[in-house]
């Protein structure tokens, strides 16, 4: 029986059916569901690794140990894992290994929109790209066979639209998981220069074989139709092409590295006009051009964002779209914002009030950069905040007692520890705020080493952040409640003045994980409210401004009585009513 599955769940199913017994990941939208789902299949060991590099290294060890292994991460996670990735391509596998790269064209939930098909050519590994959930299942299963046949890790590249679209899937029979025997083989697995030179030869030879495979495999298929136009495409773009141009000829690629050169030549010769439709980078187009084939591509299409059927119709012709309705008046935007009761809100309010330079990091709290909190100066990637605060101090252009790094608990464990060692070792004076909500909130509340639970929600040894930070050599570590703004502010004032490193752990569970209190509620005394809007500047949906009356008001359906607005009010107009 067919059932609906998001692409990520279909990948998990495909891995299970392929006999995967080890699955590792660090959560990251749009990849998170893959390993959280896979870990629940019988016979699968799953783990949340502290970061993608560790996930891939655990995967490499499991593969060498003989297990079929899946490692999943978002596109930027592959950058973190790039070091082991490039060289694991040299060693090759024992048990098959598939690395899922979940790219995010359009940046629904990411800091960039890099195209990880590029890793295929750069790191020299095969890249497979499915176009719906059924293919996600089937291609994942097949990718393990390719991995073992060619002795290489295989990248399964998906995009947000595939990861989070549900399409119908027919499940298959799971293969009996069978460990391959481990045999010591240092020239294959120990990448000393002398051995690695030999492995590079193997990599190039393997690529020749993969190219032949790409020309023959059913992953790549020509669908002959009207030969006046032939489109080469892959992934979800294939669906968009078919939606608006059902009758044209299409070369649908399921293997995007290495490309099937002979098949592409055959297709090019069979059509009058050849166009490549690919989101983001001209990865296919440039290679086809390099073979001297006349092909069109990015002169018609943008390098930016996601495509859509209507965009393709507009650029290439095809099924005309009906004219929709439009409203003349501009609709006010609705940007995402921190939840009512979020422990991060008061922190960013305080940082802004203190006019600090804030080096931010990746998580829900990156929303602290948006109006009205406006509490962030820079944010680049996971774990960057602490090193950037150190660098800003060393540039000596900004008063070091005005610089803070702000990082979440999961992000700190991911990649914040080494830069903190740098601060201590090179005698920086940074103050680091760890926003410890005891979960990986943004991606849907996954556990991590400092929560005391594993991926299966079973008790696990809990990383003691305070002890870790002291062991690094930070002498001043303190814990504050981020909902107590006075306490937070005085801790910040004290630590910022120190001429040595310090860490403030602002600890309070994510507001989505605690039940709002039923024994109290916030009320505004209208005669005390001056309409100054200070409380509105914390950007909470629990409080709003009535313009006609020049008064603030509580929204009782969203307010969770965190009391931050009451502490911000200088006129004592916001009260807590018990009962």
């Amino acid at each position: 029986m067919k059932r609906l599955m998001i692409g990520n769940d279909a990948i998990a199913r495909g891995a299970y059916e392929a006999g995967v017994t080890v699955a590792t990941a660090y959560p990251g939208t749009p990849s998170t569901e893959i390993v959280s789902t896979l870990a629940h299949y019988p016979g699968v060991y799953g783990e949340w690794a502290p970061n993608e590099k560790v996930a891939l290294e655990v995967g490499a060890g499991a593969s060498i140990g003989g297990a079929r292994t899946l490692v999943a991460m978002k596109h930027v996670g592959v950058n973190v894992a790039a070091d082991p990735l490039y060289t694991f391509v040299y060693t090759g596998v024992n048990g098959g290994m598939v690395i899922v790269s979940a790219d995010d064209p359009g940046m629904h939930s990411s800091q960039n929109e890099q195209d990880n098909r590029g890793y295929g050519r750069f790191a020299k590994l095969p890249v497979i790209e499915p176009a719906d959930s059924q293919e996600a299942l089937d291609f994942t299963r097949l990718a393990f066979d390719i991995s073992e046949e060619f002795d290489t890790p295989v990248m399964l590249r998906i995009t947000t639209r595939l990861a989070h679209s549900q399409t119908l899937v027919e499940e298959g029979e799971p293969k009996q998981a069978k460990l391959k025997e481990y045999k010591k083989d240092a020239p294959k697995y120990v990448m000393l220069p002398g051995f690695a030179r030999g492995r590079h030869v193997a990599v190039e030879k393997r690529l020749e074989g993969l190219k032949e495979y790409s020309n023959k495999t059913d992953l790549n298929q020509i669908e002959w139709g009207d030969r006046r136009l032939g489109v080469i495409t892959s992934g979800v773009c294939y669906q968009y092409v078919r939606e608006v141009m059902p009758d044209i000829s299409v070369l649908k690629l399921g293997m995007v590295n290495p490309l099937p050169d002979k098949l592409i030549r055959e297709f090019a010769q069979g059509v009058e006009r050849l166009v490549v439709v690919e989101e983001l980078e001209p990865v296919i187009e440039e290679q086809v051009k390099s073979w001297g084939i006349a092909v069109e591509g990015k002169e018609h299409f943008t390098l930016l964002g996601e495509y859509s059927p209507e965009y393709l119709a507009e650029r290439l012709g095809g099924v005309a779209q009906a004219q929709g309705y439009g409203l003349d008046k501009e609709i006010p935007p609705r940007p995402p914002l921190m939840c009512p009761g979020c422990p991060h809100r008061g922190v960013f309010h305080t940082l802004k009030r203190m006019r600090l330079k804030v080096m931010g990091d990746i998580g829900c709290y990156t929303l602290g950069a948006l109006s009205p909190l406006d509490g962030m100066d820079a944010c680049v990637c996971m774990g960057a905040s602490i090193g950037m605060a150190m660098g800003m101090e060393k540039a000596e252009g900004v008063d070091p007692s005005k610089i803070v790094a702000v990082i979440g608990d999961s992000t700190f464990v991911h990649s914040g520890i080494t830069p903190l060692i740098d601060v201590v070792y090179n005698q920086g004076t940074s103050t680091v705020i760890i926003l410890d909500n005891s979960t990986t909130a943004m991606t849907g509340h996954q556990d991590h080493p400092a929560t005391g639970l594993n991926i299966m929600k079973e008790p696990a040894p809990k990383l003691d952040l305070e002890a870790l930070i002291r062991a690094i050599g930070v002498n001043h570590v303190r814990v504050v409640d981020p909902l107590q703004l006075d306490e937070l502010r005085s801790a910040l004032e004290e630590e910022l003045q120190r001429r040595e490193p310090s860490v403030i752990i602002a600890r309070r569970p994510c507001a989505l994980l605690v039940k709002p209190p039923t024994d109290k509620q916030m009320v505004i005394e209208d005669d005390l409210c001056t309409g100054c809007k200070l409380c509105i500047r914390i950007g909470c949906t629990g409080i709003y401004f009535i313009e006609d009356e020049k008064l603030a008001a509580i929204n009782p359906t969203t307010c969770v009585s965190c009391e931050v607005c009451a502490q911000v009010c200088t006129f004592d107009a916001i009260k807590i009513v018990e009962g």
């Binding site: 939208t29 549900q166 929303l367």
Partner: protein, 197 residues
């Protein structure tokens, strides 16, 4: 319905339950034997932002996303969101709006006024506009959070889905302790559609 494709856009504010609604609707379409695709939004936008789920069903579906001017029905959990996505509606399409107002940040802070007559302005443009107070109905059923299932009832009415098929999907997807309230909410929504339409 051979060859015909139905396109449903479900719009609202992160946290209003659009995901559950699209999943129930999609399951019913699967059970009725259609090819179905659903597109969802996860991650950052869910934090109180504007969210959209897209459900497409028919004999054969390619794209998981709906084009502008392509939606047969827009099911809006909030008035402003109905307006934001209105250019996705087909010229003869239907829009079902929950008469709920959730202020976005620029309105909360008093920078912009909430266009309170927005549902009336939509009704002036779109002949098939239905504005309902799903939230109040949900409160009467026992929990305001069941407003999304009241909307499922209205949608099922508009789609002509058999009641028992929808109830089956609700049973499969709603946690047991919330089931009674949700089944009641569905029934109320479904009855309301029959009364208005």
């Amino acid at each position: 319905m051979a060859g015909k494709v139905m396109n449903i856009l479900i719009v609202g504010v992160g946290g209003q339950g659009t995901l559950l609604t699209s999943r129930i609707l999609a399951q019913v379409a699967v059970d009725l034997g259609y090819d179905v695709k659903v597109s969802e939004i996860h991650g950052m936008a869910q934090r109180g932002g504007s969210v959209v789920s897209q459900v497409r069903y028919g004999e054969k579906i390619y794209s998981p996303i709906i084009s502008k001017g392509g939606a047969d029905i827009i099911l809006a959990f909030e008035k402003l969101e109905a307006a934001r996505w209105l250019d996705y509606l087909k010229p003869d399409g239907m829009v079902i709006i929950n008469d709920d107002r959730v202020d976005p940040l620029p309105v909360m802070s008093g920078k912009v006024k909430y266009p309170d007559d927005i549902d009336q302005r939509i009704a002036q443009m779109v002949e098939k506009t239905m504005v309902v107070d799903a939230s109040s109905i949900a409160v009467e059923c026992g929990n305001v959070r069941a407003a999304n299932v009241v909307m499922v009832g209205l949608l099922a009415g508009a789609m002509g889905f058999p009641e028992e098929e929808v109830e089956k999907a609700i049973r499969a997807m709603v946690p047991p302790k919330a089931l009674d309230i949700n089944l009641k909410a569905f029934k109320e929504g479904h009855n309301l559609y029959s009364n208005i339409a």
